[in-house]
């Protein structure tokens, strides 16, 4: 039987989704796809990640062979230029023509470029395709100032990308009196504006650009209020314009302001022609988001396969991503009193603004806006979409408790099975729960079999909650098993290894695991062994179970070289030692830099040179700084009372004592500390895993702070301690952490997950509520007694030392593929190839 010929014009996100859905459901159709862009459909939603190192392959939605495997003819760089509706054919740019039974427009939209004189100038860009991004990053190299026209969702994303490209002076020009005028209100916009200013973005509101200045290339913007702004480049992000030109040319009905008019079945006024995605105009509306586009593809596929489904409009709730500031709006975000009651929470200090609109009878959540903290977004969206009856204290929805887990946990139980969880893929709560019951018992399986969370990824936290909720409700014990090789949680393994006195990875695998292990369980078990026994980490065959950094006792770097970081306890260093570092760096041609941790890093060492370098450093009295290990990094100090006029105690001596006490101890993740001589806090102790600040009467001890991507201040654990008590508390705190934290969990995250939070932790550490204090203090004492500098052991042990050469069959030769280039009088690694 001859297959029904379908031609898809446009190989973007929605066009691809349509092909995927149709080919998985029916083989009655033969699909032919024309795409104007030179590459297979890619994830435009995450386009900006292209600037953060994702390649076009990483962004691609399919594999190279996918179309072929599904018998779909894909023509890339091949725009359709004409449609003959009478003979049902399309012609492409290369002059060929093709017949269709059904034609699908999935042409998306292009950037809307307002009619400003000078938009054709060099240095003016739009932000829509990978090619646009290539042009932008090429031009950005020589630009020092940049501007974005448009303060909407995409404009903000483009502006952040320009900053990330290294253009420090970036501004946003918006016509309206506020940012993101379609999503957030005045108060929210002000909060967002101040947060964006913190990122270094200049915001110009109420600005109408009248022309673009410059001869040939742009040099500035001129506004209607006669002011001007000098810029080297400009990105226009003023909205989208549906690509309806083809449809218009062949007489298909289009809207007055653009868009191909479709009905509830995505059909145009020609019964053989359909439109889906961002080019389709449904009830006067263009849906510039991916979820409604996917829903349109679903509606069309269902109807083509003889089902019935209609498109009923779509929720335009959105969450801004990437910019490092949470911004979200959902449901009816702008409705105001007297049509509803609003509850607003504002915290200018932390930059948080939340507004929810509830119905006048107090029963339903209608919509809202979240700035600065959108953790509750998913739950609020579900509560409003599913018309869940609110409790008597709806303010709890935005106030929540610290950690917020409890609120979300109880929230999902009340959702109906029909609640749409993953709107990109149209997956409901019921779909997810039944997949779990049918055996998808971890998140990867669940993603594979339901596709939930594979689109924008915004629903993943909720999918995870549903997974554990369903498992628990089936009476299954939910535990964080490590990987397919060990059926235990980290904490269980810790105890088992201890009881059985196992000392090597292989012994642990033989006794407690199965098969051959992998890159997840190996470093984890190696870390447990180190935390428990503190033996040389490269012996007993444990070297091959270590992550690369631990295996070679140095951080592996871009290009394949290694870094060398000797310990400089408390940041205190003698002139002699500084000279040694200088000499060694010179001799082995290493790049040197003062680190953020108050010590000196030497980068760019060849693997073969590491033992030679360390031999010289050790001879001069240095030891390993464990910059590569999951263990103690640095204890920062301020100069304290020995020099500083405000200093209350000798913070340097105390920092050195602490650094030397805990050096070399391995933990679930790295940990850092700091000691400040007074509350001015020059050592930034409150951003550390444990931090100490001098008081009139002793030391205050803070715990569980974190820098990194989710900074969190440390919390006060105990006050006015004498030095020995302070150290005892730290011993207990650290052992409790080492024993109970999940793999690769910093102390801050560990505390956030702990039931009872800091009060519980204080009870355990200070009041010894678990009756473990003595044991833990002894454990630390044992670890300290077995401490040895592992670099000293490595250079002195011939069997270990032998491993520090690149080729086994040419031990003297260095890796010839390592390349450096010059920069400011030192060397640096060549770019990724």
């Amino acid at each position: 039987m001859k297959k029904i010929q379908i031609i898809v014009v446009g190989n973007g996100m929605v066009g691809y989704k349509f092909c995927e859905k149709l080919s998985s459901r029916s083989n009655l159709f033969k699909l032919t796809v024309f795409g104007e862009e030179p590459r297979r459909a890619y994830d435009r939603v995450h386009l900006s990640e292209y600037f953060n190192g994702k390649s076009s392959d990483d962004l691609s939605l399919s594999t190279e062979t996918w179309y072929q495997e599904n018998d779909i003819d894909l023509h890339l760089s091949s725009p359709v230029i004409k449609i003959d509706r009478e003979f049902k054919t399309v012609s492409t740019l290369d002059g060929k023509s093709y017949e269709y039974d059904f034609l699908i427009f999935a042409t998306g939209s292009g950037a809307f470029v307002p009619n400003i004189p000078g938009v054709e100038k060099e240095g003016v860009f739009v932000y829509r395709t990978i090619e646009d991004l290539d042009l932008i990053s090429g031009y950005a190299k020589k630009a020092r100032t940049a501007s974005v026209i448009g303060g909407g969702l995409l404009g903000l994303e483009a502006a952040k990308a320009l900053i990330d490209l290294g253009i420090q002076k970036t501004s946003i020009v918006e016509f309206a009196p506020r940012l993101m005028p379609r999503q957030i209100d005045d108060a929210g916009s002000q909060m967002l504006r101040s947060k964006l200013s913190d990122l270094g973005l200049e915001i110009l509101l109420n600005k109408n650009t009248s022309y673009i200045e410059g001869e040939g290339a742009i040099t500035g913007l001129k506004f209607s209020d006669d002011t001007s702004l000098a810029v080297d480049m400009l990105v226009i992000s003023a909205g989208i314009k549906p690509r309806d030109e083809l449809a218009r040319a062949c007489g298909i009905e289009v809207g007055a302001r653009g868009g191909i008019v479709v009905d509830q079945k995505m059909q145009t006024n020609d019964p053989s022609i359909f439109a889906i995605g961002e080019c389709a105009l449904f009830e006067g509306m263009i849906y510039g988001l991916i979820a409604p586009g996917y829903e349109m593809a679903e509606v069309l596929v269902t109807n083509l396969c003889d089902g019935t489904k209609t498109f009923l409009g779509f929720d335009m709730s959105t969450k801004l991503k990437l910019i490092g500031i949470d911004v979200a709006s959902f449901g009816d975000n702008f409705i105001t009193e007297p049509d509803c009651r609003t509850i607003v929470f504002e915290n200018k200090h932390k930059g948080i603004y939340k507004r929810i609109n509830i119905s006048n009878d107090g029963q339903y959540l209608l919509g809202g806006i979240l700035i600065g903290d959108a953790t509750a977004y998913n739950l609020l969206l579900q509560t409003s979409n599913n018309r869940i009856i609110l409790s008597d204290d709806p303010e709890e929805l935005i106030l929540g408790s610290r950690g917020g887990d409890t609120a979300a946990g109880s929230g999902i139980t009340s959702l109906p099975d029909s609640a749409l969880i993953c709107s990109c893929e149209g997956i409901s709560k019921g779909d997810i729960c039944s997949a779990v019951i049918d055996g998808c018992e971890n998140i990867d399986d669940l993603k594979k079999c339901t596709k939930a969370g594979t689109g924008c990824g915004g629903c993943l936290p909720m999918v995870k909650d549903l997974l554990s909720y369903t498992l628990k409700s089936q009476g299954k014990y939910v535990k964080n098993v490590i990987c397919e090789h060990f059926d235990y949680s980290r904490q269980e393994l810790f105890d088992l290894i201890h009881i059985h006195e196992l000392k090597s990875y292989d012994a642990v695998l033989d006794a407690l695991g199965k098969s051959d292990g992998c890159e997840v369980c190996k470093p984890m078990v190696a870390s447990l062994l180190a935390s428990l026994w503190n033996e040389m980490i490269l012996e007993k065959g444990n070297d091959v179970a270590q992550d690369s950094n631990d295996r070679f006792l140095a951080n592996i770097q871009k290009g394949g070289s290694y870094s060398v970081v000797p310990r400089v306890a408390g940041g205190e260093i003698t002139p002699e030692k500084l000279i040694t570092i200088g000499e060694v760096a010179k001799k082995y041609n290493l790049y040197t830099k003062i680190t953020g941790g108050q010590r000196i890093d030497m980068f760019g060492a060849h693997l073969n040179d590491l033992p030679l370098i360390w031999e010289e450093l050790i001879a001069a009295g240095f030891e390993s700084g464990h910059a590569y290990g999951k263990g103690l990094r640095t204890v920062k100090s301020c100069v304290g009372s020995t020099w500083c006029r405000f200093g209350l105690h000798d913070s340097v001596s105390f920092a050195i004592r602490i650094e030397e006490r805990y050096r070399g101890i391995r933990a679930p993740h790295k940990f850092k500390s700091g000691v400040s001589g007074c509350i001015r806090e020059c050592a930034e102790a409150q951003s550390k895993d444990f931090g100490i600040i001098a008081t009139e009467k002793g030391w205050n001890l803070y715990v569980c702070g974190n820098g990194g991507s989710k900074p969190q201040h440390a919390l006060l654990l105990a006050t006015d301690l004498d030095s020995d008590t302070c150290i005892r508390y730290i011993d207990r705190f650290l052992m409790f952490y080492i024993k109970t934290a999940d793999p690769l969990t910093r102390t801050a995250t560990w505390l956030n997950k702990m039931e009872g939070g800091i009060d519980y932790l204080r009870n355990v550490v200070v009041n010894d509520s678990l009756n473990m204090a003595q044991q833990w203090e002894n454990d630390v004492e044992n670890l300290i007694n077995s401490y040895k500098c592992e670099w000293k052991e490595a250079v002195e042990n011939p069997a270990i030392r032998k491993r520090f050469s690149h080729f086994v069959n040419a031990p003297e030769d260095k890796d010839p593929s390592i390349e450096f280039v010059e920069m400011r009088g030192q060397k640096r690694t060549a770019e990724w190839k």
Partner: protein
């Protein structure tokens, strides 16, 4: 598979290889990663360059298995590759070359005419 005697490279002695881990073999301008999977008593050889960011690093990766398929994880970004077929196990398109290995009289030989 080509089995001419010229294509077999005498790579190293068995005792030079690392148990349950990898070493790197120089082969003219090429680099080959050799893995001694002692737990299974199996040997594997692959290209040393990771196709992801072109880093000469696979020999320094951890080996292990994924539902019994032997694999190596690149130390840079933990992409994993089958040691049998060279296929990338994280669903990426890039694959690595794999070479046959044999042991004779305590010497490890690698057939440098790739299997794939």
């Amino acid at each position: 598979m080509n089995e001419t005697s010229e294509s077999w490279l005498a790579a190293c002695k068995v005792e030079d290889a690392v148990e349950n881990g990898g070493v790197c073999i120089k082969h003219g301008d090429d680099q080959i990663a050799l893995f001694y999977f002692t737990r299974r008593n199996e040997w594997y050889a692959t290209q040393n360059e990771c196709p992801h960011k072109k880093q000469m690093a696979l020999s320094r990766g951890m080996i292990g298995s994924d539902s019994d398929e032997p694999k190596v994880a690149c130390p840079f970004h933990k992409k994993t590759f089958s040691l049998n077929t060279g296929e990338c196990l994280n669903g990426e398109e890039c694959a690595i070359k794999v070479y046959p290995v044999k042991i004779e009289d305590g010497t490890v030989y690698i057939n440098t005419l790739a299997k794939f």
